[in-house]
Symmetry: C2
């Protein structure tokens, strides 16, 4: 195959997700496309910094309406406000925007895409494609194959989310607090559970049942995002679903304790078979060998890992699963790059 | 009230739970009874060590069949094997045994007691009373008042369990691994997820979806204990219940994401009212103030804390709750001392 070359821009180049995207693009010999040119963009504050890309120094520039000239693909991961402000300029300038923020996700004309699940939606794009919330993303990667095989009626999920979902500052906060607590020193909390909320609580040696701010119905935005986006990605507006989102003192990889009800009588063995054949999914499920996924073993990997699959003890069509994936990779950066790859494969880029 | 005096023995005096019991008994001016004499017992390995009790030095003795002479109340928390070996000797010697291990919990003639829930069962004892598994214990403390008011049909729980549930060695393991990981050093795992299982995995900056060893149906013993004990304590053999038990890098206090279905149409407000009036329960639920319980805020306290109560988004009789309590206090030591207090109040001691 003759791989095409693209000019790629990264908005939010110094952020946790931006850094992972840069790292993935540096290895473009492994991708479906080559990088002809890279433009690294950020806020005024980080502009001027120099980052190495494939051994060459690239200076980060401040994002403006004019940053996107000649850019084929623009990856946005600098927060909803930045996407709101600059995504249209990028599209007008001829770029395809692959947006990692929540800003456009629920817009009717914006496809919300997990390539393994709904790549066909990419054909409907009008310039912007949204990458789902990391917690929803890894869950649908594992559950969509089950839905296709056996139907899906209900999801109840409790999450164990890594701090990197809140960015570099949250990682530093966990590290600094952990070090201070081990030394018996006083600790401060400034970022978690949600940077833009009023109060902040320690995450080191703690868990916080709040990810993002609260909404009017006492669910958090993270919980609402998970629910709404799961329904949109899987095309199931009537799916029954609730979520409890919890932050845990883990750097990378979200874990999820998921209860599902399917529409047919199936066995655990049949579900395992479906997951073994599912794209992007790795089955790690063998209790006698203590085999199951964990954040530490999943971090740095692109797949979604599933284990601890077992029948509910009461409902014959109820099952429990444990789903783990790197929230910065499949949950953000890798899914973004996958979208670009898939669009190229579908001749949309 | 004229408080009576008792000779108390603690089997497992150097363990995580034993230490907490000693601490509670030292403050007997706050209890319903005084300590006349304390006998501290342990394995051969720890015998000879000296512990201060109310300022006086007490030498720990090796547990033998003859250790219980004159002992009124014997608290056991040295593991199931020790309870199996010595509990009967203690009863034969005239002691009432309050056992923190799983050994007798499901025996028909052994009451499994949470004083706020089923104190009346103490009247049926024949020498041994079992303290429930910590995860089940705190959950029933919060759910039994709801059951009494509105009926209870179903529970699905995912836990976030502190390492102290696996003893002092597990606390040290978390601390040592955390320190090593912060320094970028190699880490070793020897205790968690289950000391007597084949493989061990790091818990620092990780979560492990295994607490205790696996059973034949691919649930862990911890999950089965939670389920079986919840049904026994609440007297609900037909309750629908499943559990996923997960270890998190927290020192003390277990958290639980709990989904319930009740038998009547009720509002969140009505559930909150019931919990506000419930013994041993503290409602901490105000999303606009970011008020909810966490392990760090609950550690060292005797109550069970409940927050994040909200209606399921689909089932009108479904609700979600977040339940947190100190696993070594209400989950073990405090519930043990409460059992002794309640027996004294009921004239059973």
């Amino acid at each position: 195959m003759n791989k095409k070359e693209y000019h790629v821009a990264i908005v939010g180049a110094t952020g946790a997700v931006g850094q992972k995207i840069i790292h993935l693009l540096e290895q473009d010999q492994e991708l479906q496309f080559y990088i002809k040119k890279i433009t690294l963009l950020s806020s005024k504050r980080s502009a001027g910094k120099v980052i190495k890309f494939k051994g060459k120094e690239v200076t980060i520039q401040e994002t403006t309406e004019l940053s996107f000239e000649g850019v084929d693909i623009a990856f946005f991961s600098a927060g909803g406000e930045v996407s709101k402000r600059f995504a249209k300029s990028a599209v007008d300038g001829g770029s395809v925007v692959i947006d990692n923020t929540s800003h456009f996700r629920m817009s009717k004309d914006v496809p919300l895409v997990v390539p393994e699940v709904n790549a066909h939606k990419l054909r409907e794009h009008s310039g912007i494609i949204s990458v789902p919330n990391c917690s929803a993303l890894q869950m649908v990667t594992a559950l969509n194959p089950i839905k296709k095989a056996f139907g899906l009626e209900r999801i109840i999920v409790s999450t164990y989310q890594a701090v990197s979902g809140s960015g570099m500052n949250a990682i530093n906060e966990l590290m600094n607090q952990s070090e201070a607590m081990l030394k018996g020193e006083d600790i401060t909390a400034e970022i978690l559970p949600a940077k833009n909320d009023k109060k902040h609580f320690p995450i080191a040696f703690n868990v916080l049942p709040q990810v993002d701010v609260f909404t009017e119905n006492d669910y958090t935005f993270e919980e609402q995002k998970m629910i709404n986006e799961t329904k949109k990605i899987m095309g199931m507006p009537d799916l029954k679903m609730s979520a409890t989102c919890v932050r845990v003192p883990v750097v990378s990889s979200h874990s999820e304790s998921v209860y599902i009800e399917v529409e047919q009588d199936v066995t655990v063995g049949e579900i395992k078979k479906v997951l073994e054949a599912a794209p992007g999914v790795v089955l790690q499920d063998n209790p006698t060998q203590q085999m199951y996924p964990t954040p530490l073993t999943s971090a740095g990997k692109k797949e979604t890992f599933v284990g601890r699959i077992r029948k509910d003890l009461d409902l014959p069509r109820g099952f429990h699963l444990w789903i783990v994936s790197d929230n910065l990779l499949k949950g953000a950066a890798w899914n973004s790059v996958q979208i670009a790859e898939t669009m190229i494969k579908l001749d949309l880029l």
